[in-house]
């Protein structure tokens, strides 16, 4: 029987469609592809997920992006060679399926997966890797990623050995070398080399770029962008991960980001079912949503402490106005700082500021960093009596009104600055003010615009004390070199020291340098533990509290495993699936 003309036409159309190039239909795995097999439970394909973003992404260019929203979206579009598993916090193979380190620790030989394709269907090989690193390391491109690829002041050198093998050379052994590659997106040379050669790479892959001109090795690819409203990604049909049953991941058809500029509105939209996952809730919204949790179709999770540490610190910078120099006599005395630390009620802070959904801190390494936290650091409870004893030993006295006086009989008073846009930190500063009243210390709290706070801390040094928060992007101590080294950019209490100004800072410098080149993890841990001990003893920063990571998801989402590292909820997006297999 002859096929009917309309059927024939239809068959021809389908053939043309399949042969015409990139398609949204998932491509069956080919024997030539070196795919990563996920060990997660096998899921069901299909469905769309809607997630809110607090601010709109600014670019889709991995080379120039700096803001959190852009990086979150880019993480779904691209892949790195070696990836940090957000759950185990350890490195795992990604585009590089294996690697070997030379005996002297200076050379890494990375074997790339064979037969992979970018999301536009074009082939991937070592040339793309070499091109990517050339771009990131080019001084004229000014990629913020460049700094992470500089080891001991020298950029790493990436060479192609063959089509699927590359070597990475370091100028000195670097303990965290494998972690350097995390989030360094591999770029398609074919698409970006012309822009790079024209010196216009920074303008490539903006939000207005047509989707077909953007390709990556991530689980999704760009489908559409509506300014101010939403950005939709669709499944990358060539993604390099499969499940145990051999099905190509991701399971989801689409991932849509909607832009919701306000935290409360974000919670309300999640409650209303407009969004399926909420990546980060504050404690107030969490307690409101909690009431509806059982009646609603969603569940909330408090996954424990985050990596963010909030702290009080005093201005120990040199060359300051005379009034500040007088106060610095107190601030520079470790006993004064220890007394202040002892007088602060951290548990009350967690109860009031985070409604109990936080962790009191005595070191900057939070319990979320389970690989590096030193659990032996003492956690002394608040004791005004002990704090007073320390102050007496440091030569402080009290007058008849109970006001603390220094050796020159001047009352001890200072001002804490903090960011007005961060209600939690304002509350912390206010609680410190109240706690220190018991020591006879008069504290004023001044909340300023965030940029003004940064300007005073980093530029003018015009402040007495400040409450600030830092959150490392990685758990490894190498990520915090700039904070603890006396010459570091984020050595907030005393910036731009040419030499360590105290013996304990010199010791921290030595320990941090040593841990960076030590190759044995146990040795590194011992060195970093000592850093934590010194920080707890000397209290250059007085750690206060860390907020818990509070997330929510619809009950129908499976394989949902939020983690302490960013992005908390979508780090395993390829493995997420809907129990119904359809749209939520």
């Amino acid at each position: 029987m002859k096929p009917r003309p309309c059927l024939l036409n239809f068959a021809l159309l389908v053939m043309l469609f399949v042969l015409s190039g990139p398609s949204a239909f998932t491509q069956p795995p080919r024997s030539t592809e070196d795919l990563f097999i996920s060990d997660n439970p096998v899921g069901r394909t299909g469905g769309n997920l809607v997630v809110s973003l607090r601010s709109e992404p600014k670019t889709l260019n991995p080379v120039t992006s700096t803001d959190v929203s852009s990086r979150e979206v880019i993480a779904q579009l691209t892949s790195d060679m070696i990836h940090i598993n957000r759950s185990s916090q350890r490195t795992e193979p990604a585009i590089a399926k294996a690697w070997k380190v030379s005996a002297n620790g200076l050379q890494y030989r990375l074997e790339l997966r064979h037969g992979l394709r970018f999301s536009d269907g074009s082939a991937f090989d070592a040339d793309d890797v070499v091109f990517s690193f050339k771009v990131y390391l080019d001084e004229h491109v000014h990629s913020p990623q460049r700094d992470t690829l500089i080891v001991a002041g020298k950029p790493i050198v990436v060479r192609k050995l063959d089509q699927y093998t590359i070597s990475v050379e370091l100028s000195q052994p670097y303990a965290a070398a494998e972690r350097l590659f995390d989030s360094v997106a591999i770029l398609p040379r074919r698409l970006l080399e012309p822009a790079y050669n024209d010196g216009k790479l920074d303008q490539a892959w903006g939000l207005g770029t047509p989707p077909q001109l953007i390709a990556g090795l991530g689980p999704f690819r760009l489908k559409s962008y509506v300014p101010g409203q939403s950005l939709t990604l669709e499944r990358n049909p060539y993604y390099w991960k499969v499940d145990k049953a051999g099905n190509r991941l991701p399971y989801l058809n689409e991932l849509t980001y909607v832009f919701v500029a306000n935290a409360d509105a974000e919670a309300i939209r999640f409650q209303a079912g407009d969004t399926d996952i909420i990546n980060r809730l504050n404690a107030d919204d969490y307690s409101v949503l909690e009431k509806d949790e059982h009646a609603g179709s969603f569940h909330l999770q408090d996954i424990g402490s985050s990596l963010e540490f909030n702290f009080l610190f005093f201005n120990l910078n040199s060359s300051l106005p005379s009034q500040l120099v007088r106060k610095q006599i107190w601030f520079r005395d470790a006993r004064f700082r220890q007394a202040v630390s002892l007088a602060i009620d951290r548990n009350a802070m967690v109860r009031v500021v985070y409604r109990g959904r936080g962790t009191p801190l005595w070191t900057p390494v939070t319990p979320a960093n389970n690989l590096w936290v030193d659990t032996s650091i003492p956690h002394p409870a608040r004791s005004v009596e002990d704090a007073k004893k320390i102050l007496i030993s440091a030569g402080f006295v009290w007058n008849a009104e109970g006001v603390l006086l220094d050796k020159s009989n001047s009352p001890v008073e200072f001002t804490i600055i903090t960011s007005a846009s961060n209600a939690q930190r304002v509350k912390m500063a206010t609680m410190i003010q109240s706690d220190l009243k018991d020591l006879g210390i008069q504290v004023q709290v001044v909340s300023l615009d965030f940029h003004s706070v940064l300007d005073r801390i980093f530029q003018t040094h015009d402040y007495e004390a400040a409450v600030l928060g830092l959150g490392a992007g990685d758990v490894d101590p190498s990520a915090e070199m700039n904070v603890w080294m006396s010459s570091g950019n984020d050595h907030v209490w005393d910036l731009g020291e040419p030499h360590p100004s105290t013996p304990w800072e010199a010791e921290i410098d030595r320990l941090m340098e040593e841990q960076l080149s030590a190759t044995k993890r146990r040795k590194r841990k011992a060195l970093y533990d000592r850093v934590q001990e010194i920080l707890a003893e000397q209290a250059p920063i007085i750690c206060l509290a860390s907020p818990d990571i509070l997330v929510g998801a619809k009950n129908e989402i499976e394989n949902f495993k939020p983690a302490a590292l960013d992005p908390h909820t979508l780090w395993n997006s390829p493995e997420l699936f809907l129990s119904s297999g359809g749209s939520l």
Binding site: K58, H142, D147, G208, G228, Q229, T256, N262, D264
Partner: protein
Amino acid sequence: MRYLGFRLLQSIFLLLGVSLLSFIFVEAAPGNYFDEMRLNPRITNETVAQLRQDYGLNQTLPIRYVHWLSSVSRGELGFSFAYDSPVAPLLWSRARNTLLLTGSSIAMAWLVALPWGILSAAKRKAWIDHASSVIMAILLAAPDVLLALGLLLFAARTRLLPVGGLASLATKSGMWPEVRDVAVHLFGPVLILVLISLPTLVRHVRAAMIEAIDSPCVHAARAHGIPRSRILCRHALPLALNPLISLFALSLGSLLSASLLVEVVMSWPGLGPLLLDAILARDVYVIIGSVMIASLFLIGGMLLGDVLLFLVDPRIRTEGLA
């Protein structure tokens, strides 16, 4: 025409003045876009300094102002540090949505305020006037953000209204379903904006109408036995028009700026979220660009108000001719 030409020339100088002041104020604010990068322990000071230099932040204010003026002449309104792109396309794509929202809400607000104010004035000191005063006082006292969050909560609880956004994510086929979808999403933000602006408008309409009703010509009309409704519409309302036209012109002028807060709370994809982001990040040219567009609308609104007054009020026409 001479009058119009003069006002246009005035407007250009006014815009130049606004742009210069914006530059000076933004410069006076401490910090810049790249400061926040300093909190990232993985980015060095040298990289931050290089980026500042690349984006021209190390140049003096006059040089930056001249560069900005030249970008205005190219229709770019400066360069956004955050988006790595000219400012104008960023603003226009969102300004349309803001105009849709504010245009609808201003139209609705006047449609409600005009009869309400006239009724209040006509029934002065009656129970209806007192009830109206109480409602207006409550609306005036309620913070805008509270009204917006209240409506959002109502929408989330009842599911009667969409919870923010301009359109549903689900694809719609055909123009009519799309228009209907946008209209449904528009309802909430418009309602909030109407509630916010209603007290001011109703009070102004009422005050203007009372003044007109108390005028000698209206008394004379009443003495002639002209029906009350005709007196209100044909004699009192034209008398009250002058201050109302000025108010209308002002509300047109605030077309782009009136809804910023509501847009942020209701996730309306207009200028509000963009401007908030830009202010928080110190993306200075986006801030200045937004101020310039808002100023342009304000000047345009005032100009339109002047023209309307010129057409409506014969005294102004006579003064103009003299």
